[in-house]
């Protein structure tokens, strides 16, 4: 019996020992499968034939292989449970490094030769190619993973990037467990899970390197957003650096995202609104040039809000005639941004925009309209699914609206706003607990 480790210490190592004592065709089929994201049975047969010309994986052996409890099948092909794939691929590499590399080259080549069914498919192919390149040239693979991350599809961008992060995690033993690439993707997963402290730790590791690359550009942005005190001096500086490096590297998506964060941060630091309006307007133009509907929704929202804040000031307690006459146009801009956020399935931005519209209606003392926006927000917030600061912002707007309603003698309306406020607080509790 071939030995995987000196002493099988987990179920997968034990199962691998038994598996590796099977016929050579079955074992070779399993070794090839352990390297694949997913693979069709006929491709697996072809791969085994190319790697071991004296071995044919027959139909009988294929049906034998699929019956092993760690082999799984679906419409996209066959795969292997990850802990088992890790044990077998490590065994493969230790047994024959040259063939191990050839197998990855062949898998990368098979992936590149696929005809994509659409743009999304094309992106997935690039992701899987980067995955296989990790077994050939980790440096090239790391670069490609970064490229694929930057060009993630507009719709479901975060989910697609999390999928990519999963591929990096599976190849972390080849890319280097402590490499900047692996740290970056781990940081990203923590960031989207709301685990900001762990995210900051990983991004700090990325930034410890000297390379002025995509990983640095994005880590400067997301790392800054992961720092607990957003008013800390280095936060603005890090995001500025992220924008500059993204411009230099032509990372349009991160450039727009980082500038977006910068505008809101500078607002809190008291930067003149006219400067923020210029930045926001420029960001709208940049997202238009990228033809990115999701970013366009974000940037148009920010541009409209900055213009409004410039008209009403920080205290928002005096609405001039000029502001009153501009309001319909800015509310219309926000509606268009809302439509873009809805069309790209971005529920958080939808809620931010409804909150912006409600706040403007409060400024205008049009409280009935504010209630309509906040009701719509509560209705949709149930589908958000995670804790977001937008829920706290909506709660604050409800509180302010309730005070305004009471002052105006609209007690029934004030009660409605208090009900809405409780609704947002309940959701926050549900997501946080």
């Amino acid at each position: 019996m071939t030995t995987v480790t000196n002493e099988a210490s987990n179920p997968f190592e034990m199962a691998a020992e038994i598996f590796l004592s099977q016929s050579s065709a079955i074992v070779r089929g399993g070794l090839a499968l352990s390297l694949s994201v997913t693979i069709e049975p006929d491709q697996l047969q072809a791969l085994v034939r190319r790697l071991w010309p004296d071995t044919a994986l027959t139909e009988v052996e294929l049906s034998e292989l699929i019956d092993w409890p760690f082999v799984i099948a679906g419409q996209s092909g066959w795969s292997m449970l990850q802990p088992m794939a890790r044990v077998l691929s490590t065994y493969f590499r230790d047994a024959d490094q040259v063939l191990f590399t050839s197998a990855h080259e062949l898998l990368a080549s098979m992936e590149k030769s696929r005809t994509p069914s659409d743009e999304l498919d094309d992106w997935f192919i690039s992701g899987r190619t980067a995955y296989y390149l990790a077994g050939v040239d980790p440096t090239v693979s790391a670069g490609q993973f970064g490229e694929v991350f930057e060009h993630a599809p507009v719709v479901d961008r975060t989910s697609c990037r999390v999928w990519l992060a999963g591929l990096v995690d599976r190849q972390s033993h080849l890319l280097g467990d402590t490499s900047r690439t692996v740290s970056f993707f781990r940081g990203f997963r923590h960031y989207v899970s709301g685990n900001r402290r762990a995210a900051a730790r990983e991004f700090t590791r990325v930034l410890a390197g000297e390379d002025a690359d995509i990983y640095r550009a994005i880590s400067l942005h997301l790392g800054a957003l992961s720092i607990r005190s957003q008013m800390a001096e280095n936060v603005v500086d890090m995001i500025r650096q992220s924008v500059e490096l993204s411009e230099k590297l032509r990372l349009g998506v991160n450039e727009v995202m980082a500038r977006q964060s910068l505008i809101w941060l500078l607002l809190r630091h008291g930067t003149p609104k006219t400067d923020l309006i210029s930045l926001a307007e420029y960001n709208v133009e940049r997202s238009k040039s990228l033809a990115d509907r999701n970013l366009l929704g974000w940037t148009r929202r920010t541009y409209a809000v900055m213009q409004w804040l410039n008209l009403v000031g920080d205290t928002r307690d005096h609405v001039t005639e000029e502001a009153r006459s501009e309001a319909p146009s800015l509310l219309g801009d926000l509606s268009e941004a809302l439509a873009l956020a809805e069309a790209t399935d971005d529920p958080e931005t939808v809620l931010f925009i409804l909150n912006d519209r409600a706040s403007i209606f409060c400024d205008l003392a049009e409280l009935e309209d504010a209630e309509i926006e906040l009701e719509a927000a509560l209705d949709r917030a149930g589908g958000l699914g995670y804790a977001s600061r937008v829920l706290a912002s909506l709660g604050k707007t409800c509180g302010r609206a309730a005070i305004l309603a009471r002052s105006a003698g609209k007690n029934n309306l004030a009660t409605q706003f208090r009900r809405l406020s409780s609704g947002f607080r309940r959701l926050e509790d549900r997501y946080v607990s």
């Binding site: 199962a15 997913t38 409890p69 099948a73 419409q75 999390v162 399935d345 958000l384 997501y431």
Partner: protein, 231 residues
């Protein structure tokens, strides 16, 4: 070549009475049922047993795993189910994946609820490895529960123990898959044609080899040993 979804290998028929009973309850009162375990707990095999029981009880089962979709999120899985169900009713329809790809999950769920509710032969659904990418968000599990409630459809999912299912899926039934003891495995061996004829001493010898000094063993280890014994 694909493993048939209904294919349940003899060696995976180790006692899973808790799963069978949970499925029977699920058909009586359609809602959400989760089978929870780790990678070595035989989740896929337990789901296959559940599928067999669902179909025995007259509920055709539609099963969608992370390997059936481009992106393993709940939305893409629901779109895949819609693709599977809608052409049966309207052959000329545009695939829902195209129409609804940029829609919110709640809209996709509402469409799927409508389709499921209108089926003349009600079905059941299995979502394999619901957490294959990340633990699902609360709203995703909520939508899954809504799908079961609104369309009166039994829905089963499998997932790993690392996710906080009790917190994520309020009101759902959860079955934690246990490791096996000697009695479980002996019962399984005695029900398998190739091994049923063995005498007790020989069966004990195999059990000694599987269990070593342990009193319980992971399903993956048991399945691997038993598969080899009859290959």
């Amino acid at each position: 070549m694909k493993r048939s979804p209904a294919h349940v290998l003899w060696w995976s028929r180790v006692d899973r009475q808790a799963v069978i009973e949970a499925v029977q309850a699920l058909v009586r009162e359609p809602k959400l049922l989760g089978l929870i375990g780790d990678d070595a707990s035989g989740l896929a095999e337990a789901a296959s047993l559940a599928q067999e029981e669902l179909e025995r009880l007259g509920r055709k089962c539609l099963r969608v795993s992370d390997l059936d979709v481009r992106l393993p999120t709940l939305k893409y899985r629901m779109l895949e189910l819609l693709n599977e169900l809608v052409p049966l009713r309207q052959p000329s329809a545009v695939p829902p994946t195209l129409l609804l790809a940029s829609s919110a999950l709640s809209n996709v769920r509402a469409s799927l609820s409508n389709v499921l509710s209108s089926l003349s032969n009600p079905v059941s659904l299995i979502f394999d490895r619901l957490d294959s990418q990340e633990c699902p968000r609360r709203n995703e599990v909520f939508e899954l529960q809504e799908l079961a409630r609104v369309s009166n459809t039994p829905i089963l999912f499998t997932g790993e123990s690392r996710c906080e299912w009790h917190s994520l899926a309020h009101g759902a039934s959860l079955v934690q898959l246990q490791s096996f003891d000697r009695a479980d495995v002996r019962a399984c061996m005695l029900s398998a044609p190739p091994l049923a004829a063995w005498n007790n001493a020989r069966i004990d010898g195999v059990l000694d080899r599987i269990f070593g000094n342990s009193t319980r063993v992971s399903p993956l280890e048991v399945f691997t040993h038993l598969k080899v014994l009859t290959t």
